[in-house]
Amino acid sequence: MQVQDKKTRNPAELRCKIGLLIFLLLGAALVVAGMWGMDQYSSSGFDQEAGYSYINQLTPELEKLYNEGIKPELEGLDAGQRSAIKQRVGELLITAWTEAAKEDRSALVETYLSDTDDVEKTQMKLLSVSYSMAGPKVSSKEKKALAAMDDAERAAFRDAVLLGILDDTVELPALAADAVEGEEDLKRDGILMQLFLTSVNKESEPLPTEMVNGLKKAVRTADPRFAAYSMAEKGSVSWIEQLLLSNTTTTVLIGVVLMFDVLLLFFLLKADGSWQMDFKWIVILAIIDFMVIFQVMPLVYLVFKAFFPDGKFTFEVFTRLYTYPMNLGALTNTLIAAGATMVLGTLLAFPLAWLVGRTNLYGKKFFRSLFVLTYMVPPYLGAMAWLRLLNPNVGTINVFLRTLFGLGDAPGPLNIYSLGGLIWVLTTFYYPYAFITISRAMEKMDPSLEEASRISGASPITTVFKITLPMTTPSLIAGALLVFISAASCYGIPSIIGAPGKVHTVTTRIIEYNGLGAQGLSDATGLAVFLMVIAIVILLFSDLVIAKKQYITVSGKSMRPNIVDLGRWRIPVTLMVSAFAVLVILIPFATILTTSFKTDVGKSVFDKTNFTIENWTEIFSRTETIQCLKNSLVFGIFTATIGIVIACTMSYLLQRTRIRGRKIPDFLIALGSGTPSVVIALGLIMTMKGNFGINIYNTAYIMVIAYLIKYLMMGMRTVVSAMSQIHVSLEECSQISGASWAKTMFKITGPLIFPSIAAGWFLIFIPSFYELSMTTLLYSNSTKTIGFQLYEYWTFTNQPQACAMAFGILMIVVALNFLLNKLTKGEFSI
């Protein structure tokens, strides 16, 4: 027995275990070190989570203060005066910081100023934020007096104060003169500068008090606070800077992830039993780490925050939320709208799928592509179109109906700004989800199952109800649930239709709450948890219903026998399907197009005075729009390219290896795609601003990561299913012929699955390109996308221009689809 034992013990096992233990200890050491560092920091008074959050909020405010309140004044000075002011501000800044630190900090100021091209601006902003937090006191009496001034008085006061800093002899307004009574030199100038800053607006609030107090509370000691000022001045916190300033949390994060990886690897090795380290595990772990950090952690934290808003367990968030009628209304609206959309969408999708897949309907292929194409169109586009069509006052269809039935000029008869309107638009945009799922199931279903029913004496209709419907039920349910969850988590449509109509949904409430500071964020988490729970329940249920998972993938083939001859119904049914297509596809798109040529949205485009191409020239010449378009393209390309690399890697792992743990990333990716967009974005906002060692808030990274989490699966499924179709013997044959693994991938597998890789790339790119829901939460001034720009223009500025952008986006999507079709030689189109 003893001998046997020794023999079966694998020497590699011991080596592996020792190696893992070393890494585990390393991870633990990092965590301990990081914790120690955090402890140091917290005793030094830097609450990083709150700190970074306020820093990020202050950035745009500071920019605004400088651009609107300071720059114009400085520009009013002559060159000499301006350089004198610059000189003086520099001195004030050093003095302020030196006093605060009770040690000389001129070197620190120099450091912060040295890497900037616009010293004047930088030091002015640094001084502004310093003075807001801890500058010369402005009494409430003085504030009141300032507030009492009218705009002209205030302007005169500010001019005088600014000049007073330059020249002691200038006569100051009474208020300022009183304040500097008995003070001189820097001290006097400091007070004047504070008065200059305070008087920037009626409220005497150069920067919002809430943020200033928040940052004060979060950063209590001098040097971290100066660092915070500098970060706020520069814009969002770069990750390098953050790593340097707060590497403590990052260290903890790296340590935790390392320990997690080691433990996971241990279980994988143990389950595998061979104790042979495999490079593939490193790849799997890397993908898992990415998903855990950017997807699982944010979601877990979101739930945690909803139940532990202040670190203690409470239902307070939920009771506060759900006793508020508007939220309760949003909740019921969401459930009703999503439920109705699910029912209507499925009721539309099943007959359409059947007609296209099982009968001799005219133009089946064309209709199929048409219905599937809608899937690739941004939903907000439909909302915009239907708003123009069904606006109670000027909606084209309403006007038409009123004229037709002589209803007079009263608004109506149809009103888009209603729950019904919301359901209608949601239905027209989400029925393709069910259509695709059901069509796919029908394509896979052996047609002889239906033929057997016919030959048994059943009519085509009986066959539909007794055979086709029951057989496709799992996919029908899956499709219906997909419609439900997509409609429930949709933001674009309810934000456009719901907001003016006061029809709130959970998503619009979440995004509204998010804009309302800390309390708002915590309320948003409560709603997000609600949405997430629905999504997860549905995801699990859907998996349960269809034991074999079915996902939406694209493919071109649709050669099916015409099992049912529509006979004399062939023409009427084709006409009905055409009418449906015209109603839900042609009319909305045409409306977008015509509106883009209008000056006044309420009048006809054929009215000579109303026709203009200005909207188009405008969107193509406005630098902001072009910048947004560039952002969208860049984000989309990055997301799709990173995504397709992961997708190909995962496909290889899933289809060509039996490596343990390969299904974990697969599961996480599926989970990500099932999570509502706003929930993903909210989770990222709450965890990616430095509090967990990573700060990518307000950057392009956070956008690309969010898109990846949401859309990666679409690309992955396409590549996986293509790879599963290629028999492994084709690869083995190449290797037997002497080709290396890499050469085989490049020469055999690559070319064979290239069409699917291209399709997968586009499937990730297109939704990322026009994304709105997540962008609304994650954008910053420098990372606005075309979808968001369009939304802003629609809501606040100019609907015809928004329509021009929308039609532009539509054209890009159609063009890409065409390109894809050419690229894959007709095998794929979306």
């Binding site: 052996d446 002889s448 199952l449 033929e451 057997a452 029913s453 016919r454 030959i455 048994s456 004496g457 059943a458 009519s459 085509p460 009986t462 007794k466 055979i467 029951p470 057989m471 039920t473 026998p561 099992i563 001859d565």
Partner: protein, 359 residues
Amino acid sequence: MASVNIKNVTKAFGPVVVLDQFDAMFENGEFITLLGPSGCGKTTMLRIIAGFEKPTKGTVLFDDKVVSDDKVFLPPEKRDIGMVFQSYAVWPHMTVFDNVAYPLTIKKVPKAEIKKKVDHVLAAVHLTQYADRIPSQLSGGQQQRVALARALVASPALLLLDEPLSNLDAKLRESMRFEIKEIQKEYGITVMYVTHDQTEAMAMSDRIVVINRGVIQQIGTPKQIYMEPANPFVADFVGKIEFLEGEVKEGKIVLDGCGQKLPYDGPLTGKVLVGIRPEQLQFAKAGDGELTGVIKSHFYLGNENDCRIDLGAGKEVRIIADPYESMDVKAGQQVSLKVRHYHAYPLNEDSLNFRKILT
């Protein structure tokens, strides 16, 4: 019970003609097999009879009733046919009983009668104890019998079987062949059977219709098809055969190249194509046989001895000899062959091209 009369049926899918002027009459109670290589049009013919395809031209009659012509087209559910599909098409969401009862349920037959009929047909296919199972719990052969029971339960006039045995393993296939034949006898039903397996066709059919490229090559009993194949295609498709070219000269066929002669008293003259099946040859004593040659190779298979004989000038024939009579044959040995029977066809482009037709 029904006879099936197919008059001049042509079916084209776009420019591709899959059935060309198909003309046949099948009698009541006959077991008819449509035999041919894949893609020959046999399944299309079956689907036309079932009503799943509309012929481009021509008429189909059941007894005297037109079921399909230019004006009339009876949909499958009105044709009173039972059919077994290649994939069985057993509905996975119903139990065996419900699957089999379906044709009766559709006809709104009273429950008690359904029960009686289904039990009877399930007994006939030996599935009585599986009535409450769902199809995924059954083996391929059992599912196949469910399909058969369902096709039979409503006592249709005509039973169509589309390669029903092709998904079964060899042993099961043989026993099912027997069962289907038994059931046909019991129900006295007209059966049309589609297959590309000649053994199946030979074993089961009253008459075989050999089809190639959408054209009927020959209709006849298994014996006729085998012993008197109408053309080289039929001869080649059913059974094994070797072809040699030759010329009729003075009551003999002189084989090209080797110059050996076969006795001939048929009507052909000039160039001919001679087909000899391996079992039509027999080893003979020297000087006794029609042909002589040298054994090129031989494969001893236990129940037979499969030899190739070189007749000279590269011309070869194959003989499947009795192993006891050819125990000692060796490669290189000079042998004499007796020709018991052979087939001769005029040598023309068609007869030379039949192999191309096949593939």
